[in-house]
């Protein structure tokens, strides 16, 4: 918990998804990350790892290459194809240059060969997190599309130069869309991250807020930016 400007805010620890099939490494790395203050979830095969990475937002994914059911290269490629831009660190016993290049080309952000020094692994994860934060700060402060300009820091939105009044939740939802632009966002994920599963709200709340945002910033009859993906959720395209 931290106190900022007199407001008590809940601090959440960075979350790591560890996709690794070797029980000894699952145990030691989970302990290592937790002792360093991370929240850790694990998956022991590629299929489950991919499923988890698609349904929940993690700060970093630590991904083994040689996994049962679906290998790490495939998991990484499918994550990127689905628009998930979470930082991926590949951890593997494959050391040939070709493997490293393949991993990085498929969208991995970093690569560490086994046997690795655990302190180097922690340092690389910290570096990835710093990079992600920087990227988010850079993209979030100001954003514009069509005739809409958003200044998240000042909580100001203008359309065709005129101020648009947005409620706090609408602004948060817009910020979430901008953060995760071009990615399919299931209603559950939006609820969890924008409303933090407030008991009073349900997926209908998301629909209503999306309708209001469309009315104010998009074309409600034929949305150009906030699209409904039937039966799955929403996608904000930039």
């Amino acid at each position: 918990m931290t106190r900022q400007n007199g407001i008590l805010e809940e601090m959440t620890n960075p979350q790591i998804l560890l996709i690794e099939d070797e029980p000894g490494l699952v145990l030691t790395l989970t302990d290592l990350f937790r002792a360093d203050g991370y929240e850790v979830e694990t998956a022991t095969d590629g299929e489950n790892g991919l499923k988890q990475a698609l349904t929940r937002r993690y700060s970093v994914i630590v991904l083994d290459v040689m996994l049962p059911k679906k290998n790490g290269f495939e998991v990484c490629r499918e994550l990127r194809q689905a628009g998930v831009d979470t930082a991926v660190l590949m951890l593997t016993a494959k050391t040939l240059v070709g493997d490293r290049v393949t991993g990085l080309r498929l969208g991995a952000d970093d690569y560490l060969a086994k046997p690795f020094d655990p302190s180097e692994l922690l340092a690389r994860i910290e570096a990835l997190l710093r990079r992600v934060e920087k990227h988010h700060r850079a993209t979030v402060n100001c954003f514009s599309f069509d005739d809409v300009q958003i200044d998240f820091e000042r909580a100001e939105v203008r359309r065709a130069g005129h101020k648009v009044a947005l409620a706090a939740k609408e602004l948060q939802l817009l910020e979430y869309f901008v953060h995760h632009r071009d990615r399919l966002l299931p209603r559950d994920e939006i609820l969890q991250n924008v409303w933090q599963y407030d008991r009073e709200v349900n997926s209908r709340t998301v629909d209503v807020h999306v309708a209001w945002l469309r009315q104010k910033l998009d074309n409600p009859q034929s949305p150009k930016r906030i699209h409904t993906v039937r039966g799955r959720g929403y996608k904000f395209t930039s």
Partner: protein
């Protein structure tokens, strides 16, 4: 002249293919061994780091990590032994001194773990050993290694939920002389027809094992076959109806001179002890 040219081209193609195959096998070997070495080393390194920096004062974690390091070191030891044995076999030194051995005791010693530990891990062992099994004259450590490879193979590739290994041993006539036949059968998915011919090739690993990341170097079955054959026996993959795969080893029995020698040795011992 034309036929000479054709023969030369064919020979060249064969030579190139042979070289390519050898290179591919060597690559598989390096990549397989590298993975098998790097993974336990990573676990040991991470466990050591956690112990030193996070859990030094927590006896439960120290015990848990101690066991983990021990297990991983044993995996490395087994791997090193497999590689060294393969190296010796390649140099033609496959067997050491032979001695008279009883199959039942040898099988017991060859299990990759104690029966209790296997049962705890969900592996059921069913043994059916005939009472009239003859003794064999064999290099104990090498043959134990061969049998252990077969038993480990059955554990690794057996049914993941309810692994059952059937071990049977009986006396048979082999090329007109008595022999012991040992069958080791698992209840896993079996070996696909297209892979049956290749299972004894060094470094060969089945598709299912590769896809499911089952640990292994591809040397175990090759070594088992070479060791058993060096004893004058055979190792074959038997066609079985239904689930699983069965490997059948046939090892010639010790001849009457060897048994007589042992019996006289026993008599001497009993004479000595009565003295």
């Amino acid at each position: 002249l034309l036929s000479l040219l054709i023969v030369t081209v064919v020979a060249l193609i064969r030579f190139t293919r042979g070289t390519e195959k050898l290179a591919e096998m060597q690559m598989n070997f390096v990549s397989g061994i590298s993975h098998e070495l790097r993974t336990p080393l990573s676990v040991i390194r991470a466990a050591g780091f956690n112990l030193r920096t996070k859990f030094a004062g927590q006896p439960e974690q120290v015990a848990r990590y101690g066991k983990l390091i021990q297990d991983e070191s044993e995996k490395l030891t087994a791997l090193v032994e497999q590689i060294l044995r393969y190296g010796s076999a390649e140099l033609g030194r496959i067997l050491g001194a032979r001695e008279l051995l009883e199959i039942a005791a040898l099988l017991e010693e060859s299990l990759p773990d104690t029966k209790q530990a296997l049962a705890e891990a969900g592996v059921m062992i069913e043994e059916r050993l005939a009472d009239d099994l003859p003794s064999i004259k064999a290099d104990k450590e090498s043959l134990k290694h061969a049998l252990r490879n077969l038993l480990e193979n059955a554990v690794k590739h057996g049914n993941k939920e309810h692994a059952r290994i059937r071990i049977r041993a009986r006396k048979i006539a082999f090329a007109g002389t008595p022999a012991v036949q040992i069958g080791i059968r698992d209840n896993g998915p079996g070996i696909p027809t297209e892979e049956r011919k290749r299972v004894f090739e060094p470094f060969f690993r089945g598709k299912l094992a590769r896809d499911n990341q089952v640990h292994g170097t591809g040397l175990g079955l090759n070594l088992a076959k070479r060791i058993i054959e060096a004893h004058g026996g055979t190792l074959v993959l038997r066609r079985v109806a239904g689930e699983g795969a069965e490997f059948v080893a046939t090892i010639p029995a010790a001849n009457s001179n060897d048994t007589a020698e042992r019996n006289s040795g026993r008599n001497d011992e009993s004479t000595n002890s009565s003295d």
